[in-house]
Subunit: 138 residues, 4 copies
């Protein structure tokens, strides 16, 4: 199974009036880590754009286990949970530089095609599907 790590630096305006990174910033980091995972698994963002095939966000569940500040470097670990012709699910762990866990998340996606409707990735882009399947299962 392909498990990846993606490092992110917090930015000054990410912090709110309490001096902690606002909770709406975290989904941006999970997304960046997801795009990186897909790229490494064999489905680059450029290819995704060219084919108009995307993992549309359907469900995002985040746990906030601690506060983050600025400046700070965090690392998002991405672990695949499920790949099906029309579905993708990934889980995330977000850790501080000292290794402590700051948050976890799970995202669930349906593949969408050029018409913005559900898309069968296995049928439409079989070589991409095979590469992702390998990244999820092996």
């Amino acid at each position: 199974m392909l498990i990846t790590s993606y490092a992110v630096e917090t930015r000054y305006p990410d912090c709110d009036a309490m001096g902690v990174v606002h909770h709406a910033v975290w989904p941006i980091w999970y997304e960046a880590a997801r795009i990186d995972w897909l790229e490494r698994a064999g489905f680059s963002f450029e290819r995704s754009q060219a084919e108009h095939v995307n993992p549309a966000m359907v469900d995002l569940h985040m746990q906030y286990k601690g506060a983050l500040g600025f400046p700070e470097t965090v690392t998002v670990t991405v672990t695949p949970e499920l790949l099906a012709p029309k579905k993708l699910a990934l889980t995330y762990e977000l850790r501080r530089a000292d290794g402590t866990l700051a948050g976890t998340a799970r995202s669930f996606h349906i593949w969408t095609g050029p018409d913005n409707r559900s898309y069968d990735l296995e049928a439409g882009l079989p070589e991409i599907y095979a590469a992702l399947k390998k990244a999820v299962e092996e």
Copy 2:
């Protein structure tokens, strides 16, 4: 039970390169609707800031049921689920101007005090707690 509606207009930069509001914008709307619910239930943002008592985000679970664009006006309905001396849970429905459901969410919070640690709202601010209790139960 106090159920509130909060209207939000999408903004041009909320949309991503696919022309739909990015999923990281939705938590900002849920938060604005939550702040409004708390205010109407008897705990204003100003009071919250003055007391250094906040509903810290611990768990946020969002379902995206459809895409939103710009310009568009959406309405967030907030329904309380749980209030306890140290906890708060709310659920949300996000609807388009035509009434169709675009998303749902649930947020779970722990009350935190001036030391940024768990806080007993019933013990610390009993009149606020009583007001919120009434908004949740009656």
Copy 3:
């Protein structure tokens, strides 16, 4: 000359760790006020999108004369400065609810067409150009 006012409410995450609205949020407000001005002057956002004709941002000059917080309602007044077949310039005043001036700005745009290059609005969309000309001059 068409001078418009556009009201905006600050949002909690607009504030940074110093508790004031971050300076990168202000351009979003100026843009919203500009879109509103264009709509009222006769060039709606929908039409602009349909024609793939936009006032591309070329120069933005902002003065910050005071800090803003949350919650706060501010009003942006938009005054046209210049309209030419390939150019648009607008100026802005941003005031607090009590009328005090918090900021000023000037934006300069070139009209761009479907190829993302400079576009002659007078030649391409004469009725739109005439409406804007009237809003700027009369």
Copy 4:
């Protein structure tokens, strides 16, 4: 004179519906490059926070010379223009990976102290002022 370079990667949600990085994102990059310049010149963000002394944004003037997309890495070059006991001015150049110029900017700041009012940096923090003076002049 201390001239620094700061690299930034664009993020997917930075792009708007036209597929280009929204103009309100650029100030965030200029700020990150400015914080980096100040750190290298001898005034770290941590020290700035501890002393409650900040370069408050008073005037920001940006030129947009081209569009940026995602993914893309840009580099911001920071050049000091002016340091005085109560003032700071910096200029910026933003270049794409291929070296082409995408934008320029100038920011003007007044030093503010714990009371959020104008602050004499030379009088208040002479060793910081001396370090910055050296970075600007030598």
